[in-house]
């Protein structure tokens, strides 16, 4: 009925992948202050032609990337908190907006943060779990409807859930009547809706599976490992980097989701950061900018931390993941 086949990309890609970490280690392990390896020591014009211009590009890019963020920081520190009085370089330093974030009764920031954490964690894990499973099947097995499956997946993925919002509302009204814990205005119900996109990362992960030689699976099977063992003990650790990357993508997308959240989560205590903060700025864009910016900063912090934490996976390739496992 189904048989394992090798991945779509040439086997060399694996070799490449196994090769590259040496490069990468050199890049990431070298402390910023340390001297570059001798053979690369360059001087003057030569240095600029080979390396220096890269710094120029890098700095320009950094400026481009960071000026709106500086604006957010400045807005968060601006006690007036209005659009008009905010500049890129902060003129005043005040933590008033942050205090307001935690003391105004209608802004339940800690609660929203907790809700967001719960939603993002569950959605990320389930989506990566389901996607990785499905991606493995699409990469390793040839079965009837495989191509159709991949195609329909792409199609359905392109359909924004928000267009079916009315239907989702009805559906969850029904569900809520039977199982109140999963109804409207519950985190569980909202999570379920988002889990509709559980196969969202299949394409990305499948590409990576394709580059892992199926000889590995077969070797494992010859050793007597079951499908489950092969998958969880051998294959998954190998693709850990892509799981980290796609996990991060899901996390970021989930933390920013507010269209569905504003339908499903209307009670103050059930809101996520996205819908809560959006409500703030929507109510009074002019005056709430400061508090909003403060909230936005605090929202962005965990994402940045998560990224830093996962950075070695993201650029590290296969063995960087293997080092730990």
């Amino acid at each position: 009925m189904s048989q394992p086949v090798s991945g779509g990309t040439p086997a060399t890609s694996t070799l490449q992948a196994l090769d590259e970490p040496h490069e990468e280690k050199r890049a990431t392990v070298t402390p910023p202050g340390a001297k570059p390896p001798r053979e690369h020591k360059l001087t003057g014009m030569r240095w600029f032609q080979e390396i220096g211009w890269r710094h120029v590009v890098g700095i320009v890019a950094v400026l481009w990337a960071i000026f709106p963020i500086l604006y957010i920081i400045s807005a968060a520190l601006n006690p007036l908190g209005t659009v008009v009085s905010t500049t890129v370089i902060p003129r005043e330093f005040s933590l008033q907006n942050f205090t307001e974030l935690f003391t105004t009764p209608s802004i339940q920031f800690p609660r929203w943060a907790l809700n967001t954490l719960v939603v993002c964690t569950v959605v990320t894990f389930v989506q990566i779990f389901c996607s990785a499973l499905a991606a493995y099947a699409f990469s390793r097995f040839r079965f009837t409807g495989r191509r159709m499956g991949l195609l329909s997946l792409l199609l359905i993925q392109m359909f924004p859930q928000i267009l079916a919002a009315v239907a989702l509302y009805f559906l969850f009204t029904e569900i809520g009547e039977a199982v109140p814990a999963f109804g409207l205005n519950t985190l569980a119900g909202y999570i379920l809706v988002l889990l509709g996109g559980s196969l969202g990362q299949v394409w990305l992960i499948k590409g990576f599976f394709d580059s892992v030689p199926s000889s590995l699976d077969e070797a494992a099977k010859i050793d007597g490992a079951s499908h489950v063992q092969t998958y969880f003990r051998i294959i998954l650790p190998l693709v850990r980097p892509i799981l980290a990357v796609s996990g991060l993508l899901v996390f970021v997308a989930t933390i920013a989701e507010f269209l569905l959240a504003s339908i499903f989560l209307t009670a103050g205590s059930k809101k996520t950061l996205a819908v809560g903060l959006y409500g703030l700025i929507d109510a009074d864009r002019s005056n709430n900018l400061g508090v909003f910016a403060a909230g936005a900063l605090l929202t962005a912090v965990p994402v940045v931390v998560l990224f830093m934490f996962l950075q070695r996976y993201i650029v590290g390739g296969i063995t960087a993941g293997g080092v730990k496992g």
């Binding site: 209608s106 009315v166 509302y169 519950t186 009670a267 109510a283």
Partner: protein
């Protein structure tokens, strides 16, 4: 009001989508905002995570700004009747949330909202008519009663009224202008002197703002809908595209970016009040909701009703009334009627609402009694009494968006006459289609 104006004027797809589709919930806000409620109630609501109404003998939905005021009158009512009362703040799009939840029998018993919802709420069968006695009704500002009356029936007990007025930065424009022309002249002089950046802050924005433009539009002879004999708006008589509106459009064009540059698309609801409170504008057209910000900013200001243009008609901004309404699918219909008829409809409750919600009161006796202590609010009450109620008829939904965009285009330099006539056609088609 302001939030409303922003939400409605652009009549935005998503807002309606979200709410139209969604909504429902609204729910358990109160469990967190009412620590003084009995613990057991709080617990039940929290546990079940009920999507909608709390479990109480009387459930009231309002928005976050007014929850304290509503609580202050609902709780004594509950005590007096020996019943539990729950006031919930529904923070996003209360109107559509209410319609959807009420339809699914998940809604409140009483809803507190703006009068111009009434047309839509009635066509959706979401609210019940009220039967206040003629004596009681005569105590309210006639405009407020007119606003909350629809198809000959009263649908809301009004507690607050609001409309636009003209704020003036008295440091840069010391003299009270008699006409809009004077105001603009004084503002332009201040800009020339470098005192301010903007002569007159009237929100336009890229998508236009039909609400804030209304005083100028009416002063120049424009109208939106004609009224029939009983004072109700007549959807068959659309004023947009008629000669008066064209004249108004031409004046707006003159004041726009290709003319005097008084009206600018860069000034929108997002920044117009803030610019004024920063001292960067000589005049500001805004409502009582800006009063708090303006007072806090420490700027020296004066308020007056929006004046008309020289030799033209008076400027008639929209008047909006905030009212208590009874839900058609109320679980506690008797208490809902009782609350609105007797719990809200008295001077004491109205005073509480005025004090806590900071809106000009709709009750005439209260308007008189606050005049001395709070001249600003009294002035807003006076301005509202002179203004024309915002049309509540469903046809109005077809007006906001196209008219706002037409204003924006005209301010940006589009041909005023053609734009206004085309817009009239567009609106008429939309009305005919529904």
């Amino acid at each position: 009001m302001r939030k409303f104006a922003r939400a409605l004027a652009p009549a935005i797809a998503a807002t309606f989508l979200l709410a139209g589709c969604g909504g429902g919930g609204g729910g358990n806000e109160a469990t967190n905002t009412t620590p003084e409620e009995t613990p057991s109630e709080t617990a039940t609501a929290e546990e079940t995570g009920a999507p909608a109404r709390a479990d109480a003998d009387l459930v009231i939905w309002t928005d976050a700004l007014k929850i304290d005021a509503v609580k202050a009158i609902a709780e004594p009512f509950g005590e007096a009747n020996g019943i539990t009362v729950e006031v919930q703040a529904v923070s996003s799009d209360l109107q559509t949330n209410f319609v959807t939840a009420n339809e699914a029998s998940n809604g409140p018993d009483v809803v507190v909202g703006a009068h111009d919802w009434i047309g839509n709420l009635v066509q959706n069968g979401s609210i019940e008519p009220l039967q206040l006695s003629a004596d009681d009704l005569s105590g309210y500002s006639p405009k407020a009663v007119q606003a909350t009356t629809y198809d000959g029936q009263l649908y809301g007990v009004p507690y607050g009224i609001e409309s636009l007025a003209l704020y003036r930065n008295t440091e840069v424009a010391p003299n009270e202008p008699k006409t809009m022309d004077d105001a603009i002249k004084a503002g332009e002089a201040a800009v020339k002197k470098g005192d301010v950046e903007s002569a007159l802050n009237l929100p336009v924005g890229e998508l236009g703002d039909a609400y804030h433009m209304e005083p100028l539009y009416t002063s120049m002879g424009g109208y939106l809908f004609g009224t029939s004999g009983d004072g109700e708006y007549n959807a068959d008589d659309l004023g947009v595209g008629k000669p008066g509106s064209v004249k108004a459009a031409q004046k707006i064009g003159q004041l726009g970016e290709k003319g005097q540059k008084v009206l600018r698309r860069s000034i929108s609801g997002d920044n117009s009040i803030a610019l004024f409170t920063e001292g960067k504008a000589a005049f500001l057209v805004s409502g009582p909701w800006a009063l708090g910000d303006v007072r806090d900013s420490g700027i020296k200001y004066a308020i007056q009703p929006v004046p008309g243009f020289k030799g033209m008609g008076p400027a008639e901004p929209f008047m909006g009334a905030q009212a208590f309404m009874v839900a058609s699918n109320a679980k506690n219909a008797a208490f809902a009627q009782e609350f609105v008829n007797s719990g809200v409809n008295n001077e004491e409750a109205m005073t509480t609402m005025y004090e806590k919600a900071s809106l000009p009161p709709a009750l005439l006796s209260l308007q008189d009694s606050i005049a001395a202590d709070d001249p600003d609010t009294a002035l807003f009450a006076e301005a509202a009494n002179k203004a024309a109620p915002m049309p509540a008829i469903p046809a109005m939904a077809a007006v906001w968006e196209p008219l706002g965009k037409a204003y924006s285009a005209i301010v940006g330099g589009a041909d005023p006459a053609k734009t206004m006539k085309d817009t009239g056609k567009t609106i008429q088609e939309a009305i005919n289609a529904s």
